[in-house]
Symmetry: C2
Subunit: 273 residues, 2 copies
């Protein structure tokens, strides 16, 4: 069964380097922790043509889930749903459930004294215009609902760009779907701090351990140079059918690579158990 | 003249959420500051098929530059250059200049007492195998050289994933190329802190200012909700033929949007002049 997920982050602020893409980082980590596999992360500007193009290209790779973040709000450049509709060749329509969610929010903002009038002005009502066939996902933190829509075997889930809103909708409405897909699958990782052996001399050791432990991925991350001794982090990870298998596999590889590094004169320290 | 740039970040650590993609952020900000336009940022795992696929797709969009980061080191999963070669349909070959750069590095590491032997083991020599037609770029900080190769009107530049190495090669070898392309073009940005008006009520003001100032991009970034008053950042930016024009355009739009927000009862503060 495919467990592939792609992440598409929408926002010109990412392309001009105004905003560090912590959303992609958070989503990638969380999706991986749930036993699924993120295959690609793409960031595009707030332009319908670019969004619809990247969504079409992504659909061709047939991931199980496409997660988008950004572009659901009330301003002119919040165009993600139009991009989705264009990619799927469907119309935009007012979704009555979404409209109700948004109405209730603005009524609450009036009660809380945040605004004076709860009337659904065009920018407010805009957030209830979804591609036909979509369902809104409750936003427990902000205003714009998340949106879910299925296309063939791919489920597209559009999340807001404000991190707290994205996280809240993800935890409430997306995690159950991903868990139902991944079952007991578990990602497990550990890290070793290695001093005294250069990356180029660790390379053949990694080859050997990965050959002997085919399910383990070992990656070296050199520290910025300038230190007096070679210094790097070795990261070992796997995704397995259940957590026991995952842990056992990583432990076995960890013992082997630790032994090999010591034989080369390296000093190791476990960073993450 | 097109000034489009795409960034491709290579590394499974990005897809599993181990590493926050600060490289993409740094590159996007720096490229934008030089007057060029980043059109897409993509992250893919350390797999030749994925890399070559994403490079082929990117070449079809004919950007002026493709900047990659990651995958130039000595380990088995440093495969970026193989991915480039596969995408371009060319062979890998030992580049004598690259080999010389790498040899000199390991000789220096011996002198500095970092390692005992400078011999070019296969993992070390691997870093000198480049796609045919490439030129190596001196790495002033680490070992693996950067690589530059032209395909039709697109210049592909491969940079290391270690941030200090990426930045050093970019500043020394890439900035002059981008400057020669962009000339006097300048990006200019400023930010307003806005309190007391909701994003949905600012939306029509942004529409008006962008209509009256066609070269200015205005984007609202709401603060995480939960505060007692509506709170957001308004970001105004433009890229113009020279810095005076850029500043003047942004100033004009800033005056107009400030006035409109005050009329709505909002409080503003200049965040960035």
């Amino acid at each position: 069964m495919s467990t592939s997920v792609e992440i598409i982050c929408i926002g010109t602020e990412l392309l001009i380097g105004k905003t560090l893409n912590t959303n992609a980082h958070w989503l990638a980590k969380r999706v991986t922790s749930l036993g699924l596999s993120v295959r690609r992360i793409t960031a595009v500007p707030d332009e319908i043509s670019e969004m619809s193009q990247v969504i079409k290209e992504t659909l061709q790779r047939k991931p199980l889930f496409i997660l988008t973040s950004g572009g659901l709000g009330p301003t002119f450049d919040d165009k993600t749903l139009e991009g989705v509709a264009k990619a799927l060749g469907c119309k935009m329509e007012v979704n009555s459930n979404a409209l109700k969610m948004i109405e209730e929010k603005y009524q609450r903002y009036v009660k809380e004294g945040l605004i004076e009038k709860s009337e659904l002005t065009p920018p407010r009502a805009k957030m209830a215009r979804l591609p036909e066939g979509s369902k809104p996902l409750i936003n427990p933190v902000g205003t714009a609902p998340g949106v879910i829509i299925k296309h063939e075997d791919t489920t597209i889930i559009a999340l807001p760009g404000v991190p707290s809103e994205m996280i809240a909708i993800f935890e409430d409405s997306v995690v159950p779907l991903l868990k139902a897909t991944a079952g007991d699958k578990t990602f497990f990782e550990t890290s070793l701090d290695v001093k005294g052996v250069m990356e180029s001399d660790i390379a053949p050791l990694i080859d050997q351990v990965m050959h002997d432990n085919p399910y383990i991925y070992v990656k070296s991350h050199p520290s910025p140079t300038g230190e007096k001794v070679p210094h790097l982090e070795l990261h070992l990870s796997t995704t397995a059918e259940n957590s026991d298998t995952a842990r056992n596999r990583v432990s076995r590889a960890l013992v082997q690579i630790s032994e090999l590094i010591k034989q080369k004169g390296g000093k190791i320290k476990l960073l993450k158990a």
